[in-house]
């Protein structure tokens, strides 16, 4: 399992469109992909849009990114890059 901290860098946090982008990317991989809010321990499955929205992660929120599964190395790199790039907002 791979685990590392990432920071939400989008201007409006993880809102619906951003969540959809995360789900789209995460669903390409077989691994289980979770993010967890460091401050209250709330966890969401990155393949589920409602879970991501339930977090209400705003800009600057620190998250633990957790990837577990056979393609975890690729999945982890892709997800990490997605968070670091600020996630495309104008799709």
């Amino acid at each position: 399992m791979k685990r590392e901290k990432v920071v939400v860098s989008n201007r409006y946090g993880i809102h619906a469109r951003v969540a959809a982008t995360i789900v789209k990317e995460a669903s390409k991989y077989k691994s289980d992909i979770y993010i967890e809010k460091v401050d209250d321990g709330m966890r969401a499955n990155c393949k589920s849009i409602l879970g991501l929205l339930a977090l209400g992660a705003s800009k600057g929120t620190i998250l633990n990114l957790e990837v577990d599964g056979e393609d975890e190395t690729d999945a982890f790199e892709a997800m990490k890059q997605l968070f670091e790039s600020g996630i495309e907002e104008n799709e």
Binding site: A16, M42, R43, A44, N45, K47, S48, I49, L50, G51, L53, A54, G56
Partner: protein
């Protein structure tokens, strides 16, 4: 990990409900309350200082206050001894007037003194209820929680297996949705209560249709804010490792926060009416709860076989 609450959080949380007046000792706001039970420190004030739980809210009612008045100056020493144990919070009820030294001693020992116009019995009820709720062990689970025939059914299973579609079908048939996708479960005593995270309450995601508001679509009777978790139904791929139980002799359980919840696995294959099976599982749960022991005990086996050997 043991959960606790800052006195400040309790003050903020119940301020309106109990009309709190912050009397003294706000420097004790950082102290922690670790139990939902409260204590009435009558004997401690009489000088018996054992079994004082400083991490509980201490309630000063009519008895405590009138006792302190009755012993005059001695009261100051007793209260000093009591506070010096590290008492976090004292709640004076019924809007009672108390001896002046209490406020000074509270500042000295950083004991928060709150006063409420509400009577002791009601204060105790409200404070314990609130603390029990806030201190309850909690977990967030991936699944859907519904009320099916009055049974709280938690549907779990891997992503894409069809939990939400099944849940939508159940709602369509008149059952009630509590939470989709993420279910917050709290344990109170031996009972599990499930709710939805506030931000996604009454929402459901259906692939192809996006996110829909169940309350808007099906009306207020199609949702519930919280429900006991009575039964866990897992939807599993038929080709998965889990062998379908063809006989269901033994009862299976699913562990949530240390509580054993009755558990069934439903293999998903094309053509099976999953919704119907979930309804049946709920009905079987109701039957068992009303004392029915299953077809083997009732019909297929002799009594002594059931009660005696080998059926477990």
């Amino acid at each position: 990990m043991r959960k606790s609450l800052l006195v400040k959080e309790i003050y903020d949380g119940l301020r309106t409900r109990l009309n709190f007046e912050l009397v003294a000792g706000s420097s004790g706001f950082y102290k922690r309350i670790e139990s939902y039970r409260i204590q009435k420190p009558g004997l401690a004030l009489a000088g018996f200082l054992e079994h004082v739980h400083t991490e509980r809210v201490q309630v000063f009612g009519e008895t405590e206050i009138s006792y302190l008045f009755s012993i005059g100056d001695e009261g100051e020493r007793r209260v000093n001894d009591f506070f010096s144990l590290g008492v976090a919070c004292v709640l004076v009820t019924k809007g009672l007037d108390f001896p002046n030294y209490i406020a000074q001693l509270a500042e000295k020992h950083s004991t928060v003194i709150l006063r409420s116009p509400v009577v002791s019995s009601e204060c105790i009820e409200v404070v314990s209820d609130y603390l029990e709720d806030r201190l309850a062990p909690e977990a967030s689970l991936h699944g859907v929680l519904l009320d099916v025939f009055g049974v709280g059914v938690l549907i779990v299973g891997e992503s894409g297996i069809g939990k939400s579609e099944c849940a939508m079908d159940l709602v369509y048939r008149g059952h009630r949705l509590v939470a989709d996708d993420m279910v917050i479960v709290k344990r109170k005593r031996d009972v599990l209560w499930g709710t939805s995270p506030v931000r996604i309450q009454h929402l459901m995601e259906v692939r192809g249709l996006g996110i829909v508001d169940v309350r808007e679509l099906f009306g207020v009777s199609s949702i519930r804010d919280r429900k006991r978790v009575d039964l866990v139904v897992e939807l599993a791929r038929a080709d998965g490792a889990k062998e379908a139980d063809r006989i269901n002799f033994a009862d299976a359980y699913y562990d949530i926060l240390g509580v054993r919840v009755p558990y069934v696995v439903i293999p998903v294959t094309p053509g099976r009416n999953i919704t119907l099976l979930v309804e049946i599982a709920a009905k079987l749960f109701l039957l068992k709860k009303s004392g029915y022991r299953g077809v083997f005990a009732e019909k297929l086996l002799l009594e002594d076989e059931v009660d005696g050997r080998g059926v477990e």
